[in-house]
């Protein structure tokens, strides 16, 4: 676990919030959800630290669906978690869960678009 924390902190030194902000710049929302899910997966770091970044993204105009995809993608699987999970449950389990997580996260983003835009529930 100590190795995981060290790895997450080391990698977060190379991934800046500015890199993530580009997600919201003129990208189709559905594609944005897929990209946000992927970025969430590869973005390392303690999730507590990322919440201020999420707020910053929202203030920068990023929609709730992309935020949901980003948060969900990040919390479901991130690099150090993937390695820890592999250690406990094996490669096959982790790879299958990664694939499943990608599908359900994109689904969650699309559901959020539906609720926000068509049902009218202002979740943010």
């Amino acid at each position: 676990m100590g190795a995981g924390i060290l790895f997450a902190s080391s990698l977060s030194a190379f991934v800046s919030p500015d890199m993530i902000k580009t997600l919201g710049d003129g990208v189709n929302e559905v594609l944005g959800i897929a990209v946000a899910t992927f970025v969430g997966f590869v973005l390392p770091g303690p999730r507590y630290v990322l919440y201020p970044v999420f707020v910053e993204l929202y203030q920068a105009g990023v929609g709730p669906a992309i935020l949901v995809a980003f948060i969900s993608g990040h919390v479901l699987i991130e690099p150090s978690t993937f390695f820890v999970e592999t250690g406990f449950l094996g490669w096959r389990f982790s790879v299958k869960r990664l694939a499943v997580s990608f599908v359900v996260t994109v689904f969650a983003g699309l559901l959020t678009i539906f609720i926000y835009r068509y049902v009218g529930w202002k979740i943010l």
Partner: protein, 182 residues
Amino acid sequence: MEDSLEKRGPLVSMQVRMGILVLLASLVLICISPAGVAAKLRENAGVNLQVLLYTVIAVVISTAVHFLVPEDFAQKHLTKNKLRYLLYATVFGIMTPGPVYAMYPIVFSLKKKGIRNHILVSYITGQTMIGPARISLEVGLLGFNFFMWRVFLSLVMGTLAGFLYYVISRSERDDLQEISTR
């Protein structure tokens, strides 16, 4: 159950190998940017300590699970191929406190109890989606509505994730059929 116990040895050695691999990767990153990594480590020191504290709590929970969940409970309820157990596992996951690293001893303990992988996927999804420790952060920074929506989503996503895992795991599905015919 015997299978899972036999696999314990290789799993432990794999943990050691993965730990070494992650440490080596970290060392490479530190060599590339020692100042940047040092700054991030200082910046995240409090959170990392918090993670360690939650890990201790989670180990206590995993020990409690080991003693409180009887062998036949897992066989009677959680190895049956019923969709509602995916929802139960998701709810159980949502209620489990602690960081994601600390959850894996619990998951490993449940696996040793005979709980199937698709149920574990629902549990992991529920646990990672909503953590009790993150409620204050999420409600405080993003609002109550957003948090409630995420709670609802976590129930849907946990159940769906377990179901999808079940669908793509052909060999595991065969195992389940074998169990249900006994």
